[in-house]
């Protein structure tokens, strides 16, 4: 049976992940930019708006002309024209004049405020009464008030949401430098694993679950994914498959074959690869202890546990953060973090000396989020679909009490 060579703590793992640099940048068109991570901060090249813009339908006026106006003593203004939507307003406003203006229209030269239609009365075809005063700037968006030329619009390391892409479109920024997406190969191994397409499952075998659930997660985060299928758990076969996968990809995920009880081919494969450095072999967590991380030149190799819930947990806790790092993601809002605060609905016992990543089901009740630990046998694959995420019971804790507020790390939704 495999001896674990370098078992380390989860925090030490996260520290190691910080050592991986992001992949190089590439330039892509704006229409493909949603979900990608900016490689450089973007700066506005112009003032938005570039002209003073009405924010209401009404009349462009000179504020001093309606000073003190009221229902009883309205200001009388001559209506001398209309600003057309999308047109440059060139006709200057002289004292005592007003010009009809739509929301979004350009203020004519000389005007400094917009009076809402509701605060006017038509007297005749060319004259209005204004029944409220207006201060300079009322209902006007000033030049550069929205975005100023030279200001940083979005920082490097931000994953672009659709609305960020909209903001870039507003500035006419039609291409952006983003980090390349990681190319990831997924390999399954294990004597007991047969293809998911096997109709009649031979006794003792299980179908390949991990290729599908891992590939689905990879695609959800936008990694370019290759399903390599099942490789026979033999040294020459595994070595050849891993060597090939490393040549063509940035990251190789091998699930199975790294646990106690399995032959320790994964370590032997790594030892046979030139430039391979095993960063750790075993994490002090349950489930998922039999996890290996190695660097092979510029490439990354993960040996993941074969048990599906363990693989899902380790993927969520460690593999995904590394992939996000390779993509250059630095700025993450609380909404992009896949965590929630919830209340434990039952106590969660634990033991000293290792961190428990306990699967939970989440449920909203009485306006509150409740986390219920799943105490099923961790080998059950039906747990896969029931677990919403996990809560960490730290190494030096004897458990968490019912009613504790905890942070839940979410599996893919």
């Amino acid at each position: 049976m495999t001896k674990f060579l370098k078992v380390i703590s989860p925090s030490a793992v996260l520290k190691i992940l910080e050592g991986f640099p992001p992949l190089e940048a590439e330039t892509i068109g704006l229409e493909a930019a949603t979900g990608r991570v900016l490689a450089a901060s973007t700066v506005s090249g112009e003032d938005i708006p570039a002209f003073p813009r009405a924010t209401m339908d009404g009349f462009a006026v000179r504020a001093r002309d309606v000073y003190g106006a009221s229902e009883t003593i309205p200001a009388l203004l001559e209506v001398v024209g209309k600003v057309e939507m999308g047109e440059a307003a060139r006709q200057p406003l002289t004292p005592g004049q007003a010009i009809v203006i739509p929301t979004g229209g350009m203020l004519p030269p000389g005007a400094d405020a917009v009076v809402m239609v509701e605060h006017t009365q038509p007297l005749d075809d060319r004259t209005i009464e204004v029944t409220r005063p207006a201060a300079p700037g009322d209902n006007v968006l000033q030049v550069g008030e929205d975005l100023r030329s030279g200001a940083e619009v979005l920082p490097a390391g931000q994953r672009l949401r659709p609305q960020d892409v909209g903001l870039l479109a507003a500035l006419g920024i039609m291409s952006v430098a983003v980090h390349r997406r990681p190319r990831v190969a997924v390999i399954s191994t294990g004597d007991e694993v047969v293809s998911a397409g096997t109709a009649q499952l031979p006794l003792g075998k299980t179908r390949d679950i991990n290729s599908y659930s891992i590939a689905g997660q990879l695609r959800q985060i936008g990694a370019i994914t290759t399903l390599c299928g099942i490789v026979e758990d033999s040294l020459p076969q595994l070595t050849a498959a891993c060597r090939q996968a490393l040549a063509d990809h940035d990251v190789v995920l091998l699930s199975g074959g790294s646990s106690v009880g399995a032959r320790d081919y994964t370590i032997q494969v790594l030892e046979s690869l030139p430039g391979a450095e095993i960063l750790f072999h075993g994490i002090a967590v349950r489930p998922g202890k039999p996890t290996i991380l190695a660097r092979v030149g510029q490439k990354v190799f993960w040996g993941l546990p074969g048990q599906p819930v363990s693989a899902l947990t380790i993927f969520t806790a460690f593999v995904k953060p590394l992939l996000e790092r390779l993509e250059g993601e630095r700025q993450k809002s609380v909404l992009q973090e896949a965590t929630r605060i919830a209340t434990l609905s039952a106590s969660l016992p634990s033991v000293h000396g290792r961190s428990d990543y306990a699967s939970v089901v989440l449920e909203e009740r009485d306006g509150r989020l409740w986390a219920t630990p799943l105490f099923g046998k961790s080998a059950m694959i039906s747990l896969l679909s029931r677990a919403d995420g996990y809560v960490i019971v730290p190494e030096h804790s004897e458990g968490l009490d019912q009613g504790t507020e905890v942070r839940i790390h979410l599996f893919s939704r």
Copy 2:
């Protein structure tokens, strides 16, 4: 200026959306199933596991042989072999015997429990002492304990997560019936709108933001999206563009051209299309009142407000739920719901008679989520990128007080 013809409440809108049936089903391979919505419930065709399976490394035993075993009076068992991972265990266990078994291995005939390695001592090559008793079923997953043949595994209407796809792989279900994804066309219009690629913005114009932010949102939810670009705000051009888009798509989203102040071509376009039925024209919300929904035969037509934050709000509140409905989504977990409970950090005034969908920024502080209303002018596009979502101030409310717990509806993350 446009008169609104049929202004209705947000709840009446949601009621109308329920009247749209899902798109037809199609069968796809499992590797493409993540994110798709099941058109029929899936049922397990077999028991999982199909054989009693060890959940620990140790020795398969007959529980009665270790009855009462302890450190002082251990049970002595003869080790007669080893179960190989992935192999059918055929050698029956007779009284007084034990067989080495790995986690995941098949229990041999006659065995009914697994004793952990830690609870045994080797005496010689063929004999072990067992120092703890075991009950029948200990450390064993029984036939069908995980999933029983004939049981519903996943219900119709569920959007498949990677772990659900893993569960289907476990059952050898290699293809699934899912609802077709909606094909959606995005058109922008408006006299002031120019292509986002316009380098020198003419005075009075703004670049096309909505095509990009709406397309990004559509792609995030997996809709098959066509960017039709900007169509000139003239009746013949708009009619031709909408007719073409409706022919090739399930849903047409036209942004701009439906607001007060714009020419009311959208309504005229719809009136000229055979079979078009305007379901409403105007929603009693702010922002986003100038929204139109029409049914054109089997197709759906939305006229969205041109103002980007309004378009984002209406998309999130109404368009997205309809698209999810067309995809057949029925079961939605609290985690898939894009809402959060947060505390208002400032009061939010409102007026009777319309619902306010007020944009907020979210921030986690002291283990709590705080929502801060964005009081900027709603025409500002920089709000696009700052707003995390909106809170609804209901029609018959005069506002929400600071400190109120509210539900935030999230924009795309």
